[in-house]
Symmetry: C2
Subunit: 216 residues, 2 copies
DNA sequence: TAGATTGTTAATCGATTAACAATC
DNA sequence: TAGATTGTTAATCGATTAACAATC
């Protein structure tokens, strides 16, 4: 199958495939079938084959997928074969924690600048990065060719920061603040709000002692 | 409409509704229509009405939804009208950052215990909580009636921690480690992996200078 | 009453899964 | 050749959206 508009569900699975494939490679496993992948990732094998087939014929009938080759292909699809620079705004606890993931993101993606508006924070170091004032954001984004922004500021400031990021020419935003950002349609925004996640988890708890089934 | 099995998509939207309703309440707005909600949350009004109607008739025709009443109802559906205690495992940067969200979670949900396996961490304080050794996990979970676990340990340890949490009787897990956990079907697991999020965002970047359209 | 807005049914759209011919 | 596994079409399933009678 050739390209159509690819659904977000498919795109969100690609990094999961990639992660597991990297693991296989580390274990020097050369080949993997959609069945094995599906078993490990708890997905339907047909779905995995279909997902991959959107982008090309990466497998071999009767054999499966060559692990290093598929890694290369998925990295290319996700644009992880070029370096993607990322800016982080909000040098609080969460921001600092995420900065440490630079090691995880390896060479492909990298937080290369950190900003905050709170004067005492400015000039402090987070690992190798120095926290910069917001005024420098636009020029730094331009100079470093930064394309993705991470927002880890309090909810009251999130929209303002998003506007600044967009004004600076960022193309996508990962938003950790618990607000729905108003953004133009060409900007991709993913919500990464941990409180929302937790609250929806609570739904699945068994009924508490003092509670009845609410099947009314 | 009365209850059926509610889809996960619906459940994930409920906290988003709740968040905005709380905001309306703070601004002393008494009533809201599905249209206004939809506009603000970037959702189809019919979808919002349908979502809510799964759980009961909460609105009034011609009027809309009473804000405090709907808040109460959604809180009940999500079980946020009882206190839900949460345990966090992994007192690294990310774990510490999340602990600070206790203020956000308000009275309804609360991280009430923090664990780590790294001896120098044990006994240190994160806000009001003292980091405990893993050996105490099961008994603390029991004593405090903890029902949800958050995993913020490195990927190599995540599965082991999940097993311990499940053994201790936890009902749901929010997993920040970049691995697919193997868990029994009655345990609800949400992945909250920030690297996966970032990688799928990269897909939506415009083509880089040195890259062609990959429409093959 | 006229206008607004719900709850719900029916229509549409999209995503997942099953099945199988092609082929390694 | 026999067995395995892909890529893809067709069938199924589920979720979103439109439309509208009921009613505040």
């Amino acid at each position: 199958m050739k390209s159509d508009k690819i659904s977000e569900a498919v795109v969100r699975r690609l990094p999961v495939y990639l992660r597991f494939l990297n693991d296989l490679q580390k274990r020097e496993i050369a080949t993997v079938s959609s069945q094995e992948l599906g078993q490990r990732l708890d997905l339907n094998p047909a779905q995995i084959r279909k997902d991959l087939a959107y982008f090309g014929d990466f497998g071999r009938k009767g054999i499966g997928y060559d692990v290093p080759y598929l890694i290369e292909k998925i990295r290319h699809i996700l644009k992880l074969d070029q370096q993607i620079n990322v800016v982080l705004v909000g040098a609080g606890n969460l921001g600092q924690a995420l900065s440490n993931y630079n090691i995880y993101l390896k060479d492909t993606m990298k937080i290369t600048a950190v900003f905050d508006s709170y004067p005492p924070k400015i000039g402090t170091k987070i690992n190798t990065l120095t926290v910069q004032p917001m005024e420098e954001l636009a020029s730094t984004v331009r100079e470093q060719g930064i394309r993705i922004g991470i927002i880890t500021v309090p909810e009251q400031e999130a929209q303002k920061v998003a506007d600044i990021l967009i004004g600076a020419g960022i193309e996508a935003i990962l938003n950790f603040a618990p607000v729905i950002l108003k953004t133009p349609p060409e900007i991709r925004v993913h919500a990464a709000d941990f409180t929302t996640d937790l609250q929806s988890l609570a739904y699945y708890l068994h009924e508490g002692k003092d509670e009845e089934e609410h099947g009314y």
